[in-house]
Symmetry: C2
Subunit: 429 residues, 2 copies
């Protein structure tokens, strides 16, 4: 049936719970997608500058055809033999360092992180996990504890195993070579070892997308990786947001940051919205997990999921989407810097490839976050037909992370609109 | 690419880990499916008497078309408004007791059980969970502890919260009205309360499919539900295997067992293999969870998942598959009992609707499990082109659980083949 916005919101509260989150003060009722475009129920068109799940574009023909073809042919679990899951793992691991040679396929990044944490426990015999204090890695009972914002004292007492380090912030607390962050990690490792928990793993998004994608130099994670390895722990890189060429310069953000992780976690964009995730690791860690834990995933690695995921890799390659991300990303930096010269609200411009944004401040000298104004900008952009979001500790960073077929023309529309919206904003109080 | 069986097995070990499970001594390389039929790479046809995930049949046209149509139109998360997720939850909860009025959509039954356990913690403020000693409910770190067979002392110390009761066994330990089982549960509740853990929930498949689907009378779970409620705990019914009309007499097995659960967990067959799961519960429990825990599932409830799940409900209704399950199930009991009269190997015949099977014994008087022979039968059936499996504490129960469009003719082929295979079996030693 087709409900009005009011009716949709009422029915959501009734059937999905009292506080199911929506984007925007005036939530959008989207009914159709194509490439980087979305349409609402009234036929209004929006430029999608935010959704990373449809990595190769909304309703990408190659992906839809792959799903249709395989779903019409066969869809079973991996207890029967099938080529597709092997073809895909071979292709996927072929994009990574040779030590990252094997994988477990799952349905979500949450499931993948849930496995990764057990791999760390299995390899180290310890349970202490370190993450940043401004991140999100998924929704299982165990994995949800990686979010410091998780409500304390619920979740089967698992908070005892988690420690947090201050997220990098290139704008306010420069750490040009990553040694400060490495030292923060070292301090938490020491604390875990001293209190008897023991250190098992550090989990990070190598480009820190939830933390506001600080302007970290290439190779920035090297000192941290050294400290993690010296302590006998695992480096888990959650590439759910940063991977598959998003940053433009590299296929994986961990390459950009100069490290080879022990475990790579994948999710959201992997199959363009079809529920697929994966844990990629080396043979030793995978073997230890497989013998030490009982694990089977009914849907994970099924032929349809693999066909969808393979089509995404094909599309990235054939449309040269990583190069596109690099080109458009560089242009976005130029246009954002031009807007910064014009609008004093913009305190900092950051990003790489097709993840970029600007931090809004009420005063460039004090760097006071313009949180409310940023929220107003996001809502005004939505009203002007451009979808994006804000994030960061103060919710004052515009987060722009469009589908990968985002072109220079789309960037122009985005920044022309942003320019007009910023023009209309009241001056900082 | 197309690999030989040997090559497939070698590549699986190399890329998926050293001990990835397969069915059958000679694993099957399936390449095509249609209805209740599967084909291997050599073009050989198999009658599928085991797979419940393709609930309305392999490659069901209605489901494939629904997926294709919606994947070509829009696939986004639920932070935008969309009718489909509401239409589906309304339709789904409409098949249940009026108190079960709301839901969270997930990608897997594991994710759904992971939420259900947190709902129990949230409602009771306690963490003690009871399950049977011969079950399986999923693969997250928390949920994997519901399987007693899980390897101990790994999984972040969560084993401390789990207690087990002896699974019902109508063949060896009759418990006609369920009071013995209820008393076992009561004893574990008492133990949890005494040791300070506290009782949060009992998790059961209402038809005990992993436990060997004992011959429990309708209403059998009532005494257990009474005890769970009196103790202030939640009754979580995992209907992943038993639901969507599988038992033929009822749409949900909890109805058959005479209880209204606090939480119903759904998974595998829900969208015919598309990764979809759900937790259905009442508004009070859902509200408490939503406010007490931070939860969002990116893929959960997306329009494609809902379209696939809706097509499954449509197909069940329009093909009258629950009636079919009942009819064919009754016929299966007749044919199995006839085989029992003929073959002394068969000790007990059980089932309801399209889940049925027989327990194999070397001696009907002692009921000594014929475990090796049962394994031989399963492999011989595979060699004769019929796919089924064995389960139970002694792995001596044939488990037959075909796609729901399984007809009387399919049943005849199954039982004629089984008759011939049993004929060929060496007499019990």
């Amino acid at each position: 049936m087709t409900r009005s916005t009011e009716h949709l919101i009422k029915d959501r509260a009734r059937m999905m719970g009292p506080n199911v989150s929506t984007f925007y003060d005036d939530p959008v009722h989207i009914v159709k997608g194509d490439g980087v475009w979305l349409w609402d129920a009234q036929g209004r068109k929006y430029l999608d500058c935010y959704n990373n799940v449809p990595h190769v574009g909304h309703c990408n023909t190659r992906v839809v055809e792959a799903i249709t073809r395989q779903a019409s042919t066969l869809n079973t679990h991996t207890r029967y033999l099938h080529d597709m899951v092997l073809d895909y793992i071979e292709r996927l691991t072929g994009t990574m360092h040779p030590t990252l040679d094997s994988a477990i396929m799952t349905c979500t990044g949450s499931e993948a992180n849930d496995i990764a944490l057990r791999m760390a426990e299995g390899m180290t015999g310890k349970r202490g996990i370190i993450a940043t204090d401004a991140t999100y890695h998924g929704n299982t009972t165990l994995v949800s504890h990686l979010s410091r914002s998780n409500i304390p004292n619920v979740g089967f007492g698992l908070e005892q195993y988690f420690r947090f380090v201050t997220a990098p912030d290139s704008y306010r607390t420069p750490d040009p070579d990553g040694t400060m962050f490495a030292n923060h990690v070292a301090a938490q490792i020491d604390a875990l070892e001293r209190d008897g928990t023991g250190f098992a793993a550090l989990v990070v998004c190598p480009y820190f997308l939830n933390e506001g994608f600080p302007d970290n130099a290439d190779g920035w994670l090297k000192p941290t990786a050294d400290i993690v390895r010296k302590a006998g722990g695992l480096l888990i890189c959650d590439e759910v947001q940063s991977g598959f060429g998003r940053t433009g310069t590299h296929f994986w953000a961990h390459e950009k940051m100069g490290v080879v992780p022990d475990v790579v976690v994948l999710g959201k964009p992997m199959a363009n919205g079809h529920p697929v995730g994966a844990v990629v690791t080396n043979h030793g860690i995978l073997g230890k997990f497989r013998t030490g834990y009982r694990y089977f995933n009914t849907f994970g690695g099924n032929p349809v999921s693999c066909a969808a995921a393979m089509a995404v890799l094909d599309e990235i390659a054939e449309q040269d989407l990583v190069t596109n991300a690099n080109t458009v990303g560089q242009y976005a930096q130029i246009r954002m810097n031009a807007l910064k010269d014009k609008h004093s609200l913009i305190g900092d411009v950051r990003g790489s490839g097709l993840v970029f944004g600007a931090e809004m401040v009420t005063d460039r000298a004090t760097k006071e976050p313009a949180s409310t104004l940023t929220n107003n900008i996001v809502n005004a952009m939505r009203d002007h037909g451009v979808l994006l979001s804000n994030l960061g500790r103060h919710k004052n960073t515009l987060k722009i992370r469009p589908p990968m077929p985002f072109t220079l023309e789309h960037a122009d529309l985005l920044f022309d609109t942003l320019d007009a919206v910023l023009e209309d904003m009241p001056p900082a109080p």
